[in-house]
């Protein structure tokens, strides 16, 4: 039974913790009882900061059914996320909707079956945020999982300590070698499977599209069934607009209702990456507007200029 209803605006969607994790990644705890009460790993929320704000899909990184609170993590990529990053404890989001999308497939499998499987999670950059609740959920059910966290450099690694607590084995890697080891997540997977002869039945890879693409290519070669989580452009998040359509196994799917998790061996990543660029020039312009005020009128080569 939910006691905190919307309408009492102050109480809803209030930020109870705000933390900058890296240069571009921010974590917030906020009150959203209906979401906290029903969400499962794999699902996401859409948040809207204020009246003029965009609807932004964000990962649910953690949730507490007792307190009615959820943890979200965002990476600043456009003007809207940059504005959100400035929010502090006590501030509120105007709107938080969810949980959206389907829960991870394994949450619907019998626990006994899960216990027989060897799981490998691969988290790239901010992808640690959606991976964490999945590993935690399995850990709480007594199912162990190995986790690889990869990032461009040491400063971009998030949730390492939290992950350590719930992962069976945690492997950290950086592209530039500034932390633990130098290499891509795919190098670690190959090392684990080919050199250390680890066997995995099930892989979940979440991170930048390019990382998921190459992880899926490798796991296909290694014959490990692989789930990826897509984060395409969305508006409503309930199936109504079709902005988030992706091609999976030759069929058009809507990430918000059919996903966001799909069979990584069937996703058309190249198309998905192109579709993510759709509003790039608008975003560029919006960022400049945020930084310079409404005085930027093109000529920078990034924003597409005045249209």
């Amino acid at each position: 039974m939910i006691t905190c209803k919307k309408g009492e605006k102050g109480g809803m969607y209030q930020i109870t913790r705000a933390k900058q994790l890296t240069d571009q990644i921010y974590l917030f705890d906020l009150t959203a009882p209906r979401v906290a009460n029903s969400c499962l790993p794999g699902q996401f929320v859409i948040v809207k900061m204020d009246e003029i704000g965009e609807r932004i899909p964000l990962t649910i990184c953690d949730y507490d059914r007792e307190t009615g609170s959820i943890t979200i993590v965002l990476q600043t990529v456009g003007a809207s996320t940059m504005k959100m990053a400035r929010l502090q404890v006590g501030d509120t989001f105007m709107d938080v909707t969810g949980p959206l999308g389907r829960p991870s497939e394994f949450t619907e499998m019998p626990i006994e079956e899960l216990k027989k499987k060897k799981f490998l999670f691969v988290a790239g950059g901010v992808g640690s945020a959606p991976v964490y609740p999945q590993v935690k959920w399995l850990h709480e059910k007594g199912v162990g999982a190995d986790v690889i966290i990869g990032a461009r450099n040491k400063d971009l690694i998030i949730l390492e300590d939290q992950m350590k607590e719930v992962a069976q084995n945690l492997y950290v890697t950086t592209d530039d070698g500034s932390y633990v080891r130098k290499g891509l997540v795919t190098d670690v997977i190959r090392d684990l499977v080919e050199n250390q002869h680890r066997h995995y039945d099930y892989c979940v890879a979440i991170g930048p599209m390019i990382m998921m693409k190459f992880t899926a290519l490798l796991t296909k070669e290694l014959n490990i069934p692989t789930i990826v989580s897509l984060n395409p452009i969305m508006v409503d998040g309930t199936g109504m607009c079709g902005a988030c359509r992706v091609t999976v196994g030759g069929e058009v799917k809507f990430a918000c209702v059919d996903g966001p998790e799909f069979d990584g061996h069937l996703v058309n990543f190249d198309e998905a990456m192109k579709r993510q660029q759709m509003y790039k020039t608008y975003e560029g312009r919006a960022i400049l507007k945020l930084q310079e005020g409404d005085t930027h009128h093109g000529g920078c080569g990034n924003c597409g200029g005045e249209v």
């Binding site: 003029i52 909707t97 409503d236 199936g239 091609t247």
Partner: protein
């Protein structure tokens, strides 16, 4: 005055309105309304009322307009309809009340829609609000979706004394009235929000950001949150695409996405953060009201706009008034034309569309003549944006998460037309979730039927 001719309604000039989002039609003023009302012959067995899905006592309210008692007129409309300012603007009156008007046999029918709009606008300006019922009956009803079906059902039940909460998935109530129909046809703050406030004045609560099927299920509402009955008015669902090559290119949108960005997210207004494609040349594929709305929105955002429709003008499903307005504003109609392929540039963006000319053959199952391709008539439209407006298919979110709620072979929820009863006890449904995409007023009719069904059910329980 020529009683055979209706009093013309003032509109914003086509050239001017093609560049702004202000309302197209200005509506009647007091004198015009009273003059138009005086044409009504006040039929005893009024056909117009039979043509109204919510059964407004049309001759009675028009009589009050003629007498100049607009408040009484608004009370008469209010007995049957919760959204008169909306309906006066977007109902297809020509095929409903006005289509049945006796005056229409020889001359113009009474402009019932414009009169309804006048009365509703007058009442709003005067601050006339419906009053909540004196007594509550202590029973709780959940309404899913705050579009025309849900608001109507909620309003009717509130008047009967029920404690009604509406759950809306989006951040703003109104459903298609807010995300779908553009500002220039239906002003959002002034008209839609005001009518929603009127429904709230009856005691209806609205909880936004609740996606039923995800945030909470119907079974939870009934079993844990203490609701005695549920009405599902969750709307049409997922946009359809054609399945032609190039459809996932950048610059191809569903009409739902394009309109949601502009209407709900206010992307047409630079002060809002949500972006919308700035297009040079747009093809809108489809011929319904939604296609007209998308086309006229794109035009106002500065593009050259083509409607691409595979049948001829006579078969356009859109209202005649909408087609007329679109043409006046400069929308180009490429009729008897069907897309074959969307051409994509090296960066993944739309650069054109291969179309084929069509001709009409034998009638198909819909009774309309089936369009067939003219061999060898392919040609290319040079474009940067394509908007697909081909209708919707039902959203499975609620039906797949509600035990015992059955759907038909089109995946629409099965519900009785007369009372909205579904296959699950205590659960009623109506509107596009049941019928597939239809009109605002038909959804309101279904909301009314659902309220009646729920009242019967809970009165006997």
């Amino acid at each position: 005055m020529d009683v055979l001719k209706k009093v013309p309604v003032r509109e914003q000039a086509a050239k001017v309105r093609a560049t702004n989002f202000e309302e197209v039609c200005y509506g009647y003023n007091r004198e015009e309304a009273m003059e138009e009302a005086s044409r009504c012959i006040n039929c005893k067995n009024a056909k117009c009322v039979q043509g109204c899905p919510v059964g407004i006592d049309i001759p009675a309210f028009i009589h009050q307009v003629k007498e100049g008692d607009f408040e009484k007129a608004s009370r008469i409309i209010g007995e049957a309809s919760a959204l008169p300012a909306v309906c006066g603007r977007v109902c297809p009156q020509e095929s409903q009340c006005e289509g049945k008007c006796i005056r229409g046999i020889k001359g113009d029918p009474i402009s019932i829609g414009k009169l309804e709009r006048f009365v509703a606008d007058w009442a709003r300006a005067e601050g006339i609000r419906p009053e909540p019922p004196k007594e509550k009956n202590g029973k709780k009803v959940a309404v899913i979706g705050s579009g025309p079906a849900g608001l109507t059902c909620a309003g009717d039940l509130a008047k009967l004394g029920y404690d009604v909460t509406v759950f809306e998935a989006l951040h703003k109530p109104g459903g298609v009235l807010v995300y779908g129909i553009p500002e220039f046809r239906l002003p959002k703050e002034e008209v839609v929000q005001a009518e929603i406030e009127n429904v709230k004045a009856l005691g209806v609560k609205i909880e936004t950001n609740v996606v039923v099927g995800r945030s909470v299920t119907i079974d939870t509402l009934l079993e844990e949150e203490g609701y005695d009955a549920v009405f599902i008015g969750s709307g049409a669902g997922l946009p359809k695409f054609m399945g032609i090559p190039g459809e996932n290119a950048n610059g191809v949108f569903s009409a739902n996405e394009y309109l949601t960005r502009s209407n709900l997210m206010k992307a047409f207004d630079d002060n809002y953060d949500t972006p919308i494609a700035v297009s040079r040349k747009v093809a809108v594929v489809g011929g319904g009201n939604v296609a007209m709305d998308a086309a006229r929105t794109a035009l106002r955002l500065g593009a050259e706009v083509h409607i691409v429709y595979r049948r001829s003008e006579a078969e356009l499903p859109a209202r005649v008034e909408e087609v007329h307005h679109a043409k006046e504003e400069g929308i180009i109609f490429d009729l008897l034309t069907n897309p074959k392929e969307i051409l994509v540039d090296e960066n993944g963006w739309v650069k054109g569309m291969i179309c084929v000319r069509m001709e009409l053959g034998e009638p198909d199952e819909s009774g309309r003549r089936r369009p067939v391709e003219v061999a060898g008539s392919e040609f290319t439209l040079d474009l940067d944006t394509v908007i697909m407006s081909l209708g919707t298919s039902p959203n499975p979110l609620i039906s797949s998460t509600t035990e015992g709620l059955e759907t038909n072979r089109w995946k629409c929820i099965i519900a009785d037309e007369d009372n909205g009863k579904t296959t699950k006890e205590g659960v009623y449904a109506g509107g596009d979730a049941v019928t597939g995409a239809a009109t605002v007023i038909l959804a309101m009719g279904a909301g009314k039927a659902g309220a009646k069904g729920i009242h019967e059910y809970l009165s006997n329980k």
